[in-house]
C-alpha cells in the first residue's frame, strides 16, 4: 500500500462532511430548533468547507479527474498559498471547524464526518502530500492547427518521400498514352 494518496479520499470525505453540515444546519435553522445559532454557524462552516474542498488536487502521477467547473475555484484556493496547500493546516482547520457543530444534534453527524476527514488529512500530511492546483496546460494543438488551412491530402501515416515518388511512375507505366512531363 505504498502509493495510496490519502488526500484524495480525505477530499471526498471532507466535501461530503461539508454537505452534511450544511444540510443539518439548514434543517435546524428552518425548524428553529433550540440552539439553532449553532446551526447557523454550521451552514457557514459547511459552505466554507465545500468551497475549500471542491477543487481537487493534482495527483502525484497520472491524470486527475477534475470536478465540473473547478478551475475557477482552483484559482481562488491557489491564491491563499501555504494556507490551503499544507494538509497539516487543513487537518487543524477542519478539526477546529467541526467542534462548535458538535453541540447540536442536527449537526453532530457533520462534526463526526469532518473529524474523520481531518484525521485522513493528517495522515496525508504525515506522508508528505500537499495540495497542488490542476493547471490548464497551454494547448499546443490549436497553434499548430491554426497555420494549417487545408486538411492534408495524404493523411498519416504517409509514405516517406522516396516511396511517394515511385507511385506516379507505376501509374505512368500502365498508362497506354504516353505522358510528356512538361
Amino acid at each position: 500500500m505504498g502509493q495510496i494518496e490519502w488526500a484524495m479520499w480525505a477530499n471526498e470525505q471532507a466535501l461530503a462532511a461539508g454537505l452534511i453540515l450544511l444540510t443539518g444546519g439548514i434543517v435546524a435553522v428552518a425548524g428553529q430548533f433550540k440552539g439553532w445559532y449553532f446551526a447557523a454557524y454550521s451552514i457557514a462552516a459547511g459552505v466554507l468547507v465545500c468551497l475549500l474542498e471542491y477543487p481537487r488536487s493534482r495527483r502525484k502521477k497520472g491524470s486527475t479527474m477534475e470536478r465540473c467547473g473547478q478551475k475557477y475555484l482552483t484559482a481562488v484556493v491557489k491564491l491563499l498559498g501555504p494556507l490551503t496547500r499544507n494538509y497539516y493546516i487543513r487537518a487543524i482547520l477542519h478539526a477546529a471547524l467541526a467542534v462548535p457543530a458538535g453541540f447540536l444534534l442536527s449537526t453532530i453527524l457533520g462534526t463526526v464526518c469532518l473529524g474523520i476527514a481531518s484525521g485522513i488529512y493528517l495522515l496525508a500530511a504525515v506522508r508528505g502530500e500537499e495540495w497542488r492546483p490542476i493547471e490548464q496546460k497551454p494547448r499546443e494543438r490549436p497553434q499548430v492547427g491554426g497555420t494549417i488551412k487545408q486538411p492534408p491530402s495524404n493523411p498519416p501515416p504517409r509514405p516517406p518521400t522516396d516511396a511517394r515518388k515511385k507511385q506516379p511512375e507505376v501509374g505512368g507505366q500502365e498508362n497506354p498514352i504516353p505522358v510528356e512531363v512538361e
Binding site: 471526498e12 433550540k34 444534534l105 453527524l109 498519416p156 516511396a163
Partner: protein
Amino acid sequence: RMGCWILNEKLSVLLLLVWLGLNLYLFIDTFHWYEDDNAYIYTRIMLGSTLAWARASATCLNFNCMLILLPVCRNLISFLKGASIYCGGALRRQLDKNITFHKMVAYGIALNATVHIIAHLINIERYHSSQSKEAGELRNKLSGLGKSPNESYLNPIRTYETNTAGEVLTTIAGITGVVITVALILIMTSSTELIRRSCYEVFWYTHHLFVVFFTGLIIHGMGQLVRGQTPQSLLLHNVTYCKDHYWEWENATQCPLPQFSGNKPVAWKWVLSPMVLYICERTVRFWRFQQEVIITKVVTHSSGVLELHMKKHGFKMGAGQYIFLQCPSVSQLEWHPFTLTSAPEEEYFSVHIRVVGDWTAALFKAFGAEEKAFKELWMLPRLAVDGPYGSATTDIFRYQVSVCIAAGIGVTPFASVLKSIWYKCCNPNTVLALQKVYFYWICRDPSAFEWFADLLFHLETKMAEKWKNDFLSYHIFLTGWDESQATHIALHRDDKMDVITGLRQKTCYGRPNWDNEFKQLAENHPSNSIGVFFCGPKALSKILQKTCNSYSSVDPRGVQFHYNKESF
C-alpha cells in the same frame, strides 16, 4: 430511436421500474399506515407527519438493505446465470449488470437514509418541545405520562431541561444511528469512481465496514423509541372521544390513561436471508481459498507480462470467464480479478498478468520473474484461486454472428474465446451455432500485448490450414505511432503480411468509424441477431451501446444488435 432503445433495454427498464415501483409502494403504504392508524393518534399529535416520513423511509431502507447484498454474491449470480441458460440471453445480460444494480440500490439507501435522519431530527425536536409550556395542554399531558410506575410513557425525552444531543446519543437507537450513518458515509465517499480507480485498496477495505453497518442496522430498531398505543389500551380508551376531552382522563370510565409500547424491531426480518446468503458466499470463497492450486508453468513475456499456467481439482471454466487470485505471500486479504486466457478445451487454465500496480509488481517479484535463474516449481509461492465466474463473453457462442470489440488491455477475455473457437472448429463432433466472428481491436501500442498478437498469428495459420479463412474476420486499429514507425509501416504497405502484427489482415490506423462498421455489419447480415461484445473503457462502451441501438432494426425479424459489456 427511442423505440429501438426501449426494445434493446426493455428488461433493464422493466427491472428499474419494478424496483422504483416497489420502493414507492412500500413508502406510500407505510406512510398511510402511520398517518391513519388509530394507535398512532397521540404520537401524531406530538410529532405531526414527520412520524410517517420517518417510518416510510425506514421501510424503504430495510427493503434496499435487503437487496444490496444480493448483486455482490458472485457465486449466486454465477449460479443463476448457469440456471438461466434456457431462458434466453436477455436475462443473462441482465445478470451482468449486477454492479450497476448494486450502485442503484446504494443510491436508494442514501436517499432514504437522508429522509429518515431529517425526519427523526425533527421528531426529536418535537418530542423535546412537547415538554415545554408553550406546547399546549394535550401535548404536555401526553409528555407527562409515565411518571408513576403503572403508566407507560410516550415521550422518550423526559424533561425540558436537557440537552437533546446527549439524551439521544445515550439511547441504543441514537448511538447506532450515528455509527451506521458514519459507516455508510465512509463506504460511499471511498467508492467514488476516482477512489476506486486510483486507490482500490482504500475502497476495498472501507467497504468491509458493511459488517458494522448491518450489525448496527439490526440493533437500531431494538431501542423502540417510536411508540404507539397498545391494542388493549385502544379497546378501553376511545381515542376519538378522549383526545378532545383530555382533562377527563382517569376520571371518565371511557378514558382511562392510554398505555404505549414501542414498535417491534423488524430490520432483522428483512436482512436476515440476504445476510445468510452472503455468509454462504464468503464460506464458499474461503473453502476455495483452501483448495490446492498447482502451478504448472510460468512464462515471462517481454513488456512485463507474467503468464501462469495452473491446475486445480474440479475446475471447470467457460470461454471468457475470470478468476480471482490471491497470493498469501503478497497480501493476506486482497483478491484480484484476472481474465482466463486459456480455452476450456485445454487441460490447464492460464492467466496473463501485466505489471500495472503494487500488487501485480509484488507478484511479479514473488514469482522471480525478474531473476534470470530458473526457479523450481515447488519453490513458487502459493496461489489461491476463486472462480471461475461467468462473464458476458460466454454468450458469444449463442449467436450466429458475434462481434467482439476490445480496447487495449480489454483484449484478454477474447483470447480465451478465440482459442476456444479454434478448438471447436477443429473438433468435427461439435455443432457450432456461431458462423461468423468479427473481431475489432483498438490499441494504442500493440507491443504491450505481443503475446496476444502471437496468439492471433497462430490462429490465422491454423485457420488457413483448415480452409476456414472467412470464419474469423479481424480488424486491428492502431491509434498510436511515431514518425519512424510511420515510415516503416508505409514502406511495407504493399507487403502480404502486416508489418506490426505479421498478420495477413492489415492493421488500420486511427480509430474506427463505428457508424460505417455497423452499417456494413447490418448490410452483411440483414436478418440475424448479432451479439456485440465489448471490453474496454466506459466512454467507448456508451458510444457502442448507442450505435448498437440505432442500427438495430425496429422490425423484430430484421437485424438486431445485442450489446454485451464486460466490466472489470
